[in-house]
Amino acid sequence: MADAAAPRTGLLRSNRRILLGSLSVLAFFVAWQAVFLFVPLNSLFLTKPSLMFAALVRLTMSGQVFFDLGASAAPFAYGLAASVLIGVPTGILMGRRVRVGLALDPLFTVLYASPLVALAPLVVIFLGVGVTGKTFIVFLLTVFDFVFNAYAGVRAVDPLLLNVVRSFGGAEKDLYLKVIFPSVMPYIVAGARIGVGRALIGILIGEFFAASEGVGYEIVRFGNFFALDSMFAYILVVTLIAIVLTQGVRWAERAAFPWRVES
């Protein structure tokens, strides 16, 4: 409907968006806080923003937030790194060797489409709830993002470019360095965008099960203690980190590969 009034300047329009957006977030928190002026707060059931932010400040000051974030960040990073290191070469191999691709594609498609999270209890029992177990869950959930994106990236390589490099006397190495890697890169970053979200799920599942530290563990623990202010503070932290990570990858994607127009 608003598009009827289209000839506004782009700047004004985007400002209007930001303004309305901030306004609604602000209104949300104000309303949430104000409700409890009229309704008595049952602190075993809900919390209010003032208490939540107080808890956030308290936990930040004591350094606990950083400790837990560190505990969660290590398996997150290891798992994603393992996925890249194993998934990308596998995907490239599948793309370059047609028969390998044909042989592995259905197997991986089935695995990718199935809820691999369901294997989490096994992983936890087998590898424990420490860094190894969480890393493996993250790996399991993200590796196919990289396999399939690298695979698609290689298949999208222009064969003409390969032939050009070949006819100028390029070796196999040059094919990879000059053509394949550059054209696969955007696909890998796109895989990372999906993978980051799934890695967060993996971390939380690992920590919900039976960890002794980490953000997910603390959320469950605060819940068990009915410490809802701290619980909400941690949920807020996870939300913020998730936004920063996903938007960060998007931004990096646009900055590094501006020619890739995302539909």
Binding site: P106, A113, P115, F148, R155, I201, G223
Partner: protein, 286 residues
Amino acid sequence: MAESDGLDMALAPAPAVDQDQAPPQSLWQRIEPTVLGISGILGVLLLWQALPAFVTLNAGTKLFFTPPSQVAATLWELFASGTIWAPLGVSAAGFAVGLGIAIAIGLPLGILIGRSETLNALCDPFITAFNATPRLVFLPLVLLWFGLGLWSKVVIVAFGAVFPLLINTHEGIRSADKLLINVVRSFGAKEWDVVRLVVVPNALPYIITGLRLAIGRAVLGVVVSEFFGSDQGLGVMMVQAASQYKVNIVFAGMLVFMALSLTMTSLIKALENHLDRWRPQRLASE
């Protein structure tokens, strides 16, 4: 940007290697992809089955090792004895009700925010935030509010499934051809007619993509909520089996979930093809 996951890409047909007039292929050339694909899966299964013959497993690992034949037998037993139906029914109910709620909220809201710039600006921060956050983080809170049982599962499933639907519907609504809208308007159509005649039909492929993603999320929601906060269901059965080292039951449950999501996804795929028949060119909704 329409939301998508790598699965769309994975399920899309591979680009033909020689696009320009393919020479008549021999039988082997035609069946090679299928043969290779099947042998890939069979090869892994055989390797898994034969693993103890190659390497001697130590006692600890043996506890976790179960060959595929054992998993198949367990699966058969679960169905034959009928023990699987009760937990499967509980899981399916959570899945269906949750997905139903997600559709009932996601579609209308997606249409609304797609049609109104103001509403979109107001909702955008929340949608971005909740979509980026793994909804799993709210699970302990949902359990606190709704307790163990059907409703906390339904909430988690719906919460997980609603965003892909909402976002893809919104994207589809916004991609409607302005010219068509103006034509309908100049024939005196009201907003309702514009939505009904132009906007929603245009958005259908997007909505279906959203639905496909939503199904994946819903299955995930069922699995996870049953792992942590349920007293019945397939996920509960799997966690209990895992804690008793009955690995074969875990894999059997996993296979059932796998079959569930593959069936649903291919049903949606078929629906998509059916609805897309009349389109001049397949719309790339990814």
